[in-house]
């Protein structure tokens, strides 16, 4: 007799119910929605909700619902059109201190939310969005560190009154030159005491006595780590200011950063903001010398030649009043007098003090605002990758200092309010510690994402139907049981993906389709065995018993080898491929449960309790 103990039957039922429960959120629609969150000291409360409600009524858009959740205001819409239409009026009404992010929010009942059930997390290739891989220029980070050390050593030696001939970075070292060995040795001691992270080497070159300082391996590591961490922080600030729901910013390897922005529809803007190294510098104009002479090559020492955006040459002092590092806050708006787009800047203590002193001394003289941006161009020349760095420095405004000013002031001269907005964002989010370059981009438009979901869903359903028809015809009652297991397997895979919040990608859907085909394999193995046993003259009950038993080790062996392939795929793959590996692996695991234990429970229920003359297999 083939009977399962009660606990095994219960196990199958419980697993099936749990699977169904956690797969359930996926059948609810996802509403196009908008998340409004507060920046800095602004708050989100009932007042905000009422304001947004008012704006929506004015613009004739009906919201499906609005709710306050964890310091965020969630507005649901009935269509994507409404969602997009509502963006501008809401942004205008709430102003600078709030950000709006477009999102998809599942509309699932509260009791399901309470159980922690969520729909599957869709990958960027399905929901649309921008994925970029960013390479951090570690060589530049190291060079910067050496430059910093070279400055620090200079200050140190001056402070200690040790005379040196020259200090400077040469390649991967800081070289300090002395004219006698005694001074060199004295300096070496001082440097050694102060900078333990440097490796010091004494070199004699004829008349010159040098100290050659290089970064120790641990220091090199920490410089790199710092550059990466700092850049991640800056990128996160920038992304947060952009207003994206569920952004992902993650380290990949030891010099790369992945940024994934679901739902973002304007990749050009995102890339510009991410990689921008834009900053501002404030300099006094040189009015004592002639610009024409400078253009003809006679640039006075202490000054530099710049150009305005319209190409007009200007001569500025080399000395910088304030750099972008000293800017602590920035916002965009319009100049009250001229109506031009403007950036309002706040300086830190040191910056404010310098600004106050310089403007005090130079009332009536012109001061210039220089906009600085670095760009990297990579291309292949004869198979070799060549990087070219371009530094753009433009004077965006030059105006007379009307009265002294300090910590807060404004800068005009930008082309558009959008540029003012972007520049304010960059100044606020801070500068990048090392230059970056985008080395990979994958953008999926929302229409393609939806198409992929639809096509993926359709191919799963058609594939499933075909297999089910085949199994029912080929194995009759046993085939129908296998079909139940197959359906349950699909539910379990979906439930596990939802529970683990693993990313579902297009190849992931393909993995599910493939699992559907391969999941029945275990049942095919079992059923063929049962048929063989019957042919060999065993009784129906003994055949069922032997069929399941003999097929078991084969199923395990066959599935473990496929799992090995899935694990390898997972460990080497990126985004979409990982998604494929996950669904394949999950599908193999769940199918072993449903195809072996699940079908056996049902077969036992049908045949186990009675005398059977013939099996419908």
């Amino acid at each position: 007799m083939n009977r399962y103990p009660l606990w095994k039957n219960l196990l199958v039922v419980v697993v099936f119910l749990l699977g169904g429960l956690y797969a359930l959120p996926n059948i609810f629609d996802q509403d196009p929605s908008m998340e409004v969150s507060a920046q800095r000291d602004a708050v989100i409360d009932q007042t905000t909700l009422n304001r947004v409600d008012g704006v929506l009524q004015q613009s004739g858009i009906t919201a499906k619902g609005m709710s306050l959740e964890e310091g965020k205001l969630l507005v649901r819409f009935t269509s994507t059109e409404d969602q997009l239409k509502a963006l501008d009026p809401i942004a205008a009404a709430l102003g600078q201190n709030y950000t709006q992010a477009l999102a998809l929010s599942p509309d699932i009942p509260d009791w399901l939310v309470g159980l922690g059930a969520e729909p599957m997390y869709l990958g960027l290739d399905l929901r649309g969005g921008v994925h970029v891989l960013i390479d951090v220029d570690m060589e530049a980070a190291l060079t910067q560190a050496l430059e910093r050390y070279s400055g620090d050593i200079r200050t140190l030696l001056r402070g200690e009154k040790v005379r040196y001939v020259r200090i400077g970075r040469e390649g991967e070292a800081v070289i300090v030159k002395f004219n006698n060995a005694a001074k060199r040795d004295q300096a070496r001691e001082i440097i050694y005491e102060e900078f333990r992270s440097l490796i010091l080497e004494e070199v004699d070159e004829g008349e010159d006595f040098l100290v050659k300082a290089t970064l120790s391996p641990t220091e090199t590591q920490s410089v790199k780590k710092f550059a990466l961490q700092q850049n991640i922080t800056t990128l996160r600030n920038r992304v947060n200011a952009l207003g994206v729901s569920e952004p992902l910013i993650q380290q990949q390897g030891d010099r790369r950063i992945v940024v994934q922005l679901p739902g973002v529809q304007d990749p050009a803007k995102v890339k510009n903001i991410l990689k921008a190294t834009a900053t501002l510098e404030y300099r006094l104009a040189d009015t004592e010398h002639s610009v024409e002479d400078a253009v003809n090559g006679r640039i006075p020492p202490g000054s530099r030649l710049y150009h305005e955006r319209n190409g007009q040459p200007v001569l500025l002092k080399k000395q910088v009043i304030v750099t972008g590092d000293q800017i602590v806050d920035a916002s965009s708006g319009f100049d009250q007098r001229s109506g031009q787009p403007a950036v309002f800047v706040s300086l830190d203590g040191i910056g404010a003090k310098r600004m106050r002193r310089m403007t005090n001394e130079n009332v009536g003289r012109p001061m210039a605002v220089v906009f600085i941006e670095n760009r990297t161009i990579t291309h292949k020349v004869n198979g070799e990758t060549v990087k070219k760095k371009i530094k753009v420095e433009e004077v965006i405004s030059i105006a007379n200092i009307l009265e002294p000013f300090g910590a807060r002031f404004q800068t005009t001269g930008l082309d558009s309010s959008e540029e003012a907005h972007d520049l304010a964002l960059l100044l606020r989010a801070g500068a990048l510690a090392a230059p970056i370059e985008i080395v990979e981009e994958r953008t999926i438009g929302p229409s393609l994402g939806q198409d992929s979901i639809d096509q993926g869903f359709r191919s799963v359903m058609i594939g499933l139907a075909l297999v089910m028809v085949f199994m029912a015809v080929y194995y009759r009652v046993f085939g129908l049981v296998a079909n139940m297991a197959l359906a349950m397997n699909l539910v379990l895979v979906v439930a596990l993906l939802s529970l683990l919040q693993a990313t579902l990608t297009l190849p992931g859907i393909a993995g599910i389709v493939l699992t559907v085909g391969m999941a029945v394999d275990a049942n095919v193995l079992i059923f063929e065995r049962i048929r063989e046993e019957i042919r060999n003259g065993s009784t129906p009950q003994a055949s069922i018993q032997a069929g399941y038993e003999k097929a078991f080790s084969t199923i395990i062996d066959a599935n473990i080898t496929t799992l090995i392939a899935a694990v390898v795929l997972f460990s080497f793959g990126t985004g979409p491929i990982k998604g494929f590996a996950i669904t394949l692996a999950l599908g193999i695991l769940t199918s072993m449960f449903t195809a072996i234990i699940g079908t056996r429970a049902v077969i036992n229920l049908i045949y186990g309790r009675k005398r059977v003359k013939e099996l419908a297999v």
Binding site: D135, Q265, P267, A268, K271, K275, I377, T378, H379, K380, T385, E437, I438, V439, E440, E441, R442, T443, G445, S447, L448, Q455, G456, S459, I462, G463, L464, L466, F470, V473, Y474, R476, L506, P507, I509, A510, V513, L514, V516, G517, M518, D521, V524, E528, E532, T554, A558, T561, T562, I564, A565, A566, V568, L569, S571, F572, G573, P576, I577, A581
Partner: protein, 311 residues
């Protein structure tokens, strides 16, 4: 319903020389094509920029080309993708524009052509990333093969492991070879599919080997060839049924899964067909030629020792 009304008695191993010649010919052609013509590698591996643009109505390619070349993209490769409303543009790197910006320029050119153009997809892969992927892809395949070699070696016997890996290499070479012969684009999803083929084909091979091992231990009379033949016949209907169900879903994926997944589905379809053939002919012949015999798998209880004692 049954594929075969009675037990089958096909002499698979008798035809192994013929099968071997067929396999060798296929492999030589595949390798020849891979060496001579190479693969039509996608930008995942070569690096480059690709933009897919959707238009509200069917669009003429010459118009697209003209617009692109007037904006300085004279060397862009343009083709329809799936429907005549979708256009795929491939861009070569340019010295004066940052690579990450190429796609933005090309798309704005398309917006000038039709303001309701829809940006469906951008893929940009920098040259260094492409090189890394190629290397990683090769390594992944190697790791998968080594992992399998070890597992099968432990669970069965070294000759089975070698046989399984020979069958896998056979399948992979022929699958990739067909992509080379027909110059179908080989991108990252296709590579994933090839790795899945490794998993699938192995699944088939293991089922066959499992039966061979069982029969070596169970059947008292008959030489290795007869026992392998019996095993292949016993597992034949399972091999075919599973291949059939898998092919059914793959065909569904190929025809209904959308343009992006085409290459992936194709690679798996080829892989499943070749894998089914190889699990019957290549895997069986391989262990037979390596001289597997009953003694290698007896006695059951001292299985591990038996492995150690084989020279």
């Amino acid at each position: 319903m049954q594929l075969f009304k009675k037990e089958t008695h096909i002499d698979f191993m008798g035809g192994r020389r013929l099968a071997m010649i067929l396999s060798l010919v296929l492999i030589v052609i595949a390798l020849g094509s891979i060496v001579a013509r190479g693969l039509n590698l996608g930008i995942d591996f070569t690096g480059g920029t690709l933009v897919e643009v959707g238009f509200p109505n069917a669009v003429e390619l010459p118009l697209v080309r003209e617009r692109l070349s007037s904006e300085g993209f004279g060397d862009a490769v343009v083709q329809h993708f799936g429907t005549s409303r979708d256009v795929l543009i491939r861009l070569a790197p340019r010295a004066d524009i940052e690579s990450a910006e190429l796609s933005d320029r090309a798309f704005s050119a398309m917006l000038n052509l039709d303001s309701s153009a829809d940006l469906r997809r951008v893929e940009f892969v920098g040259p260094q990333v492409g090189d890394e992927l190629t290397e990683d892809g090769g390594l992944a395949m190697l790791y998968a093969l080594i992992g399998i070699l070890i597992y099968v070696g432990l669970r069965f016997e070294y000759r089975f492991a070698v046989g399984a890996v020979i069958a896998l290499i056979h399948d992979v070479i022929i699958t990739i070879g067909l992509f080379s012969i027909f110059q179908v684009e080989f991108d990252l999803p296709v590579l994933a599919a090839v790795l899945a083929v490794i998993g699938y084909s192995l699944n088939d091979t293991i089922v066959v080997y499992d039966r061979i091992r069982e029969n070596f231990r169970k059947i008292r009379k008959g030489d290795s060839q007869t026992i392998i033949n019996t095993s292949l016949n016993q597992t034949l209907s399972r091999t075919l049924v599973t291949s059939m169900t898998t092919l059914l879903v793959l065909l569904s994926l190929f025809f209904f899964g959308g343009e992006i997944i085409h290459g992936f589905a194709l690679a798996l379809i080829i892989g499943v067909v070749i894998g089914t053939y190889s699990s019957v002919y290549v895997a069986g012949s391989a262990i037979l030629m390596m001289g597997i015999s009953k003694a290698d798998l007896m006695p059951v209880k001292k299985d591990d020792e038996a492995v150690d004692e084989t020279p």
